[in-house]
């Protein structure tokens, strides 16, 4: 394996384009190093992107947050403005691993590792976050939802790299939340998870919603029927019942010793209801 530290995304794209063997990008390395150690991946070229100028920065404009691809979970949590505006995303990222893992792990690494149980991804999908991608033909932006296409697989071409996460500014009267179920209280991988992002109307009812689920299908799901169940309601019991049913109906989980199909399906609905209540209160709604 060869190792290169690049100083620009363009250099990374050139290297990936000309490399005959397998390339891998190294961000925080909390997935890559484990996979190297276990022999799950055998890249010919490893490209460290942490020295590219700007990758450790979070910038904010009137329309969006731009989060650098080497910003760690710990750094994300220290950005008070971002945490106040998108608490669900920050909390989701902070659930990943230990303090030590938080010192390295990134949002984009979590996304591109493409685990169905990746904790940051449902919250990003509910927020309608996008990623900026650089390739040989230039820049493009796609929805986070369209990055993962199967467990362990992304839609990026061999010579494309994500250069930033773009998060819209949260509107007034809106809130987000993310919850996961794990059998322990810390250091475990989600058995089911749910993220909800809501905007309230003047009268305090839900004007629009985005509901997504993790660990219950090969990729994170954005469940339109679940969002519809909430719109127009103030999260009364009937709406929550509908939400739960819509979520469970969307699930197609695996069955394993950490959670059966039935358990994951039911839990996804329960978590969506609880996350919806938190998001609703964060948006200024009263239950």
């Amino acid at each position: 394996m060869r190792y290169v530290g690049v100083n620009s995304f363009a250099d990374a794209v050139d290297l990936m384009g000309s490399e005959q063997g397998k390339c891998m990008i190294l961000a925080g390395g909390t997935d890559v190093l484990v996979q190297l150690k276990l022999g799950l991946v055998e890249p010919d070229l490893l490209i460290n992107i942490k020295a590219i100028p700007g990758v450790k920065e979070i910038s904010v404009s009137s329309t969006e947050y731009r989060i650098g691809v080497a910003v760690s979970g710990a750094e994300l949590g220290e950005d008070a403005g971002l945490k106040a505006e998108w608490p669900g995303i920050v909390e989701a990222m902070e659930l990943i691993g230990s303090t030590q893992v938080q010192g390295r792990a990134t949002l984009v690494g979590n996304l591109c590792n493409a685990s169905p149980a990746a904790d940051a991804v449902p919250a990003l999908v509910s927020a309608a976050a996008r990623v900026e991608i650089l390739g040989p033909l230039g820049r493009r932006k796609i929805n986070v939802k369209d990055v993962t296409i199967a467990p362990g697989k992304t839609s990026l071409a061999k010579d494309e790299i994500i250069t930033a996460v773009c998060l819209p500014r949260q509107q007034k009267n809106s809130g987000d939340a993310y919850l996961r179920f794990i059998p322990r209280t810390e250091m475990d991988i989600a058995v089911a998870s749910a993220a909800v992002n809501l905007i309230l109307a003047q009268d305090g009812s839900v004007q629009s919603a985005r509901v997504s689920l993790g660990a219950v299908a090969p990729t994170v799901l954005l469940v339109d029927d679940a969002a519809k169940a909430l719109v127009g309601s103030k999260l009364d019991d009937a709406a929550l019942e509908q939400l739960s049913m819509a979520c469970s109906a969307a699930c197609s989980p695996i069955d394993d010793r950490r959670g059966t199909i039935d358990f994951r399906t039911k839990t996804a609905g329960v978590l969506a209801c609880r996350a919806a209540k938190i998001a609703f209160q964060r948006a200024g709604g009263s239950l």
Partner: protein
Amino acid sequence: MSKIHVSTEINGDQVEFLCETDETLLDVLRDQLGLTGAKEGCGTGDCGACSVTVDGRLVCSCLVLGAEVEGSAVTTIEGMADGDALHPLQRHLLEGAALQCGICTPGVLVAAKALLDKNPDPSEEELRYWLAGNLCRCTGYDKIIRSVMTAAAEMRGEKS
């Protein structure tokens, strides 16, 4: 395969080393630099026995490549005591019998110090969550938590 030349700072000293591309910082510390305080419990980020800081951040040195610390500042357990004078955390872990086999201890100390550098007055709950990635097979954790809380109080200048 040609080795990579890395210059970095470790516990305040300028250090240069050559490493293989797939060699972790933990391997470099232990096998090349003779800094065997950091331990390899798992090698996969789960146990925290290899904890060090890189540019002020607590990390698992088994999840960092040696090549990645070019131009960084690393601190390890070897940098904690001041000559023969133990750091209050080290002294209180000893006095509080917060170690048995001792394999987890360097990692616990480095992690606890990183917390106290950030927050000199953590709650017990905060400390327990902070140390959730430092596994200990022997002590049952209580003595570790109590010793760190006592050390923190002493470092704040409170009488115990």
